[in-house]
């Protein structure tokens, strides 16, 4: 199943759901969508006979502090086992409004994975049956995987990331 076939089928069944697409360096098709279209899109990817992405490989959140209004994101990896094709679905949304519909009802395996991303990034999965912290302590009041916390001694100068393609998040001042 080629990328064109997947995109063509999605354009037929869900016109306008795919807002952008590209192919990553590992050859997996990335499709971007909106929060509103996420659940129906994943459902179509799973249930459509021609698409058949039956398996949720993983889901994870990501934080890009520099993308104003699109700081947080969710990335879903799906896998079609019969045709052995993988696909990534991505959405981005503002940090202040970190709500994503849960996909527990599509794949029960999303339950703990969504709890994990809530735990670390503060993404609230609306409709999740049991959205609690899972790996961190219950009374923790931060979302530790967000790129908001200084990790090493700020006076350290021997590792200047500005020369290595990175002058943003890690080197910026936290005050």
């Amino acid at each position: 199943m080629e990328s064109e076939q997947i995109l063509g089928r999605l354009a037929e069944t869900m016109p306008g759901a795919v807002t952008a697409h590209d192919t990553a360096m590992d050859g997996i098709l990335n499709i971007h969508t909106t929060r509103e279209q996420l659940y129906p899109l994943l459902q179509t990817l799973r249930d459509d006979a021609q698409l058949g992405f039956n398996f949720l490989t993983s889901l994870c959140a990501i934080h890009y502090p520099e993308n104003a209004g699109q700081e947080l994101g969710m990335i879903y990896h799906l896998h079609n086992w019969t045709k052995n094709v993988r696909i990534r679905v991505k959405i981005y949304f503002p940090k202040e409004d970190a709500h994503v519909p849960t996909i527990c009802t599509l794949w029960p395996s999303a339950n703990w994975q969504e709890r994990q991303e809530y735990d670390f990034f503060g993404v609230v999965f609306t409709g999740h049956p049991d959205l609690r912290r899972i790996l961190n302590v219950d009374d923790m009041d931060v979302f530790p995987m967000r790129k908001e916390y200084r990790l090493e001694d700020g006076t350290r100068t021997d590792k200047d990331d500005r020369f290595f393609g990175r002058d943003g998040h890690e080197g910026r001042s936290f005050d």
Partner: protein, 401 residues
């Protein structure tokens, strides 16, 4: 659902339910995780697992570590088969930097990875024996596992948390002692393993305990994200080594064993057969081990020979660059998965060109399939729940990351 209705038709034994804390530290859980069970007599009404007791923030740590320093983190995921994790990580980085390994290095990796799969399955299966009351097989198989660790020690210097291999190949070639020990292992292990099989596989008590304990259907297993031996025991022949071959697995002919009922006995038998298939792969790889270099020519990532560092300018420069992580990394994202001891171990790496990953997400098979555990033990006896857990091979390190 069916189990629930079956259960609710039974009378309560003494008219009240008890709460039982199984864990966080309990000899029967073989790791640090807790299950709060609601018990009706000896039957489990419901279970609530809590995890995270050995959470070490690997994903966060990885965002602050250069690529070659992430390997020791991966050791501590599934510590029963560390080399598979190490090499899965190396292959992820090699995919990102576009590095092709020489055949010899790939075959060497396969030998190490299959040895660690045997070690992993030996622990799991002999512990199933222990939990059914058969300690003897465990004591024999642990000696064999020690011999596999001796082999690892020859290759990398350590036994459990191996940090084996490097980005771009193996750290050193197989030593003469490794060759001798591997030949000895390949000759003497199969008969000893068959003794273990003879102790358990058709043992009446063992079969009665295992058959029907903690079953899961193929549909449920897929929905719950099962991979690896636990999924194959339910009858689905998904194996990453065959689906998306890496490290030249496509050169080898082996069988993917599948079960029927997805119960403890099937999980046990699938692992037993996988050990035999792994042995076959090791034999094939070792007998056809190609000549040539044991690492790729990627001086930006692979440390030069130490004598060269002292005598050659170029080697000195690369040594400095590797140690100080002053190598440009391509920008992009890759997903790479390997067939770990417990299933599809995936690494999702996003690089923004910095010296550390921008984001590294581990797809830990244990973490994903362990959430089916309460469902699998509902309505079962406590002793079956213990057995189910050990047959799922939940490794706390991989569970909590």
């Amino acid at each position: 659902m069916q189990v629930q209705s079956y259960f609710s038709s039974l009378d309560n034994i003494d008219g009240e339910l008890a709460t039982l804390n199984l864990g966080p530290t309990h000899p029967a859980t073989h790791g640090i995780f807790q299950n709060v069970l609601k018990m009706d007599g000896e039957k489990i009404v419901s279970g609530e697992p809590t995890i995270g007791y050995i959470h070490r923030a690997f994903e966060k740590l990885a965002e602050r570590r250069p690529y070659n320093q992430i390997t020791p983190i991966t050791d501590r995921l599934n510590y029963c088969s560390s080399p598979i994790n190490n090499m899965g990580w190396h292959m992820t980085v090699e995919k990102l930097i576009g590095c092709e390994l020489p055949k010899r290095a790939q075959y060497m990796r396969i030998i190490i990875m299959e040895l660690s799969r045997i070690a992993d399955h030996l622990v799991c299966n002999s512990v199933i024996g222990v939990d059914t009351g058969a300690l003897t097989g465990f004591t024999y198989m642990f000696q064999e596992r020690e011999r596999i660790y001796d082999l690892f020690e020859e290759v990398c210097g350590s036994r459990l948390t191996t940090n084996i291999g490097r980005i771009g190949g193996m750290e050193r070639d197989f030593t003469p002692a490794f060759h001798a020990k591997l030949k000895d292992f390949l000759k003497t292990f199969p008969p000893r393993f068959e003794e273990f099989c003879g102790l358990l596989e058709r043992n009446r008590i063992f079969m009665d305990r295992c058959i029907g304990a903690g079953p899961i259907t193929a549909e449920m297993a897929m929905a719950y994200g099962f991979t690896g031996p636990n999924l194959r025991a339910a009858g689905v022949d998904y194996d990453v080594r065959v689906m998306s071959p890496y490290s030249s697995y496509e050169d080898f002919d082996f069988i993917i064993p599948v079960g029927v009922n997805g119960d403890t006995y099937d999980r046990f038998m699938v692992r037993q057969e996988e050990i035999r298939q792994s042995l076959k792969i090791i034999n094939d790889a070792y007998n056809n081990l190609p000549e040539g270099p044991y690492h790729a020519d990627v001086p930006e990532f692979y440390l030069p020979d130490k004598p060269d560092v002292y005598t050659k300018m170029e080697a000195l420069i690369y040594h400095f660059k590797v140690v100080m992580q002053e190598t440009p990394i391509p920008v992009g994202e890759v997903y790479h998965c390997v067939e770990g001891g417990n299933g599809e171990l995936g690494f999702y790496l996003i690089s923004d060109g910095g010296r550390t990953p921008y984001r590294l997400h581990f797809r830990r098979p244990c973490f994903i399939y362990y959430q089916a555990y309460p469902e699998m033990i509902k309505g079962a006896m406590l002793s079956d729940a213990i057995l189910t857990m050990s047959s799922m091979n939940v490794i706390a390190g991989e569970l909590d990351a």
